[in-house]
Symmetry: none
Subunit: 135 residues, 4 copies
């Protein structure tokens, strides 16, 4: 079961945070096709967000083809975003877990880690771009 955490004050709309967190769970394989999302009522209880806000997020994901809202039954995952390589037991994941532990132990904050990763991704993408241009 996904557990949503809404960071009010981040400036990111609540419904966007719900969508992002759901997609993340889909990519990680935490959430699979057929799985049920928490009910609006449950999300409300956990996050103090208004039910309409949850429904807005769920509706957005339905339009994106990720979930299906079944009246009276709940909301269910209809498409996987899971990647081979992102599974629980993948080597890549184990390596990252180890690296993260080292980074945090070295004093880097969550935001520092995220900044580093974003920078690494940007660097990689730029490099690929220039290779493509060379070709």
């Amino acid at each position: 079961m996904v557990e949503y955490r809404i960071d009010r004050g981040s400036g990111v709309p609540a419904y966007v945070q719900i969508v992002e967190q759901t997609e993340r769970a889909l990519r990680m394989g935490t959430l699979r096709v057929g799985d049920k999302l928490p009910t609006a009522r449950e999300v409300v209880a956990a996050t103090a967000v208004n039910p309409n806000t949850v429904l807005r997020a769920y509706r957005d994901m339905e339009q994106a083809g990720l979930v299906e809202l079944r009246r009276g039954l709940g909301t269910f995952v209809t498409r996987s975003l899971a990647r081979p390589g992102a599974e629980d037991d993948s080597p890549l994941r184990a390596e990252l877990t180890a690296w993260t532990a080292r980074a945090r132990a070295a004093g880097l904050e969550r935001a520092d880690v995220l900044a580093l990763v974003t920078a690494a991704l940007d660097a990689y993408d730029n490099e690929q771009h220039s290779k493509e241009e060379d070709a």
Copy 2:
């Protein structure tokens, strides 16, 4: 010089994206105390965002003590968020760069990588929490 990229479809307000990207540059040491941010006009030219939106972002960072807006002169970094361990030549960074390359080569998208890192951070934090509770 920072270069802002605004993703208009992300649902994240433009001014928040500017703040986030600036903070990231501060954490990475790309931007240092005394450095000048691009002028509102320059950002407008590069991102097609309205000048008011840029100023809103800059003002927010000023109130957070990160930069100083000097009328007639420009906007300047007043506080560093740089971390030892996040420098260009740090081992942690080199390791992450290598890992990212492998992840991307293995077919993981940018969003997959970010999802993995977020998961790893969550896992680490949860573990620390439970250790603290044990203690």
Copy 3:
């Protein structure tokens, strides 16, 4: 309920005037934790200021930790600035009320009174400074 009065000829930005008047009400205890500020619309109706200007003021106070903007609900005081000694029934206040009446009756304008008080404050502060230096 606070009632804002915007003096358009003063050269002081309208949003600053709103912040100042709110803080004054907080210091006086007129406004307490949990109290609701007038909605942007109400302020607009009363002052002919643009809603954006009101929101700018409210946002500034939110960042200062004084109030909380709750979408769909309103804006609420989250921190007190009240001082013992500034209450309605404090002797200090009674004395000042009496003094003010005498000053006004003696022909001093509002601005004169404010000038006198500012001078008295400056004099007191300077004296304290020099005492500290002596010590």
Copy 4:
């Protein structure tokens, strides 16, 4: 000689602060007809404000008939705002000085004192208004 103190960050334009502080000195009798204001150069040295900003303030006061700019000579007070009752040795002033000392000693901040005075002035004015209406 007036000494200007510019509070950047107060949100009040620098030139307005200069005008306000000058008027205060005029009301207090600290500055009298014929007195010379500090030169732009001196103000710049003391406040790190741009000379044009000082000149802007002086020009505004010239238009208000308070001072006269004499090229090559300086800026001179041409009108008094002094009030009987606001002199250095007036009883009102002595009483206020004493009251201020007590207020500060009781823990009230500068801003608290100013808030109290403003409230007292408002209260007095409201009372007068209602008396006038009765009459």
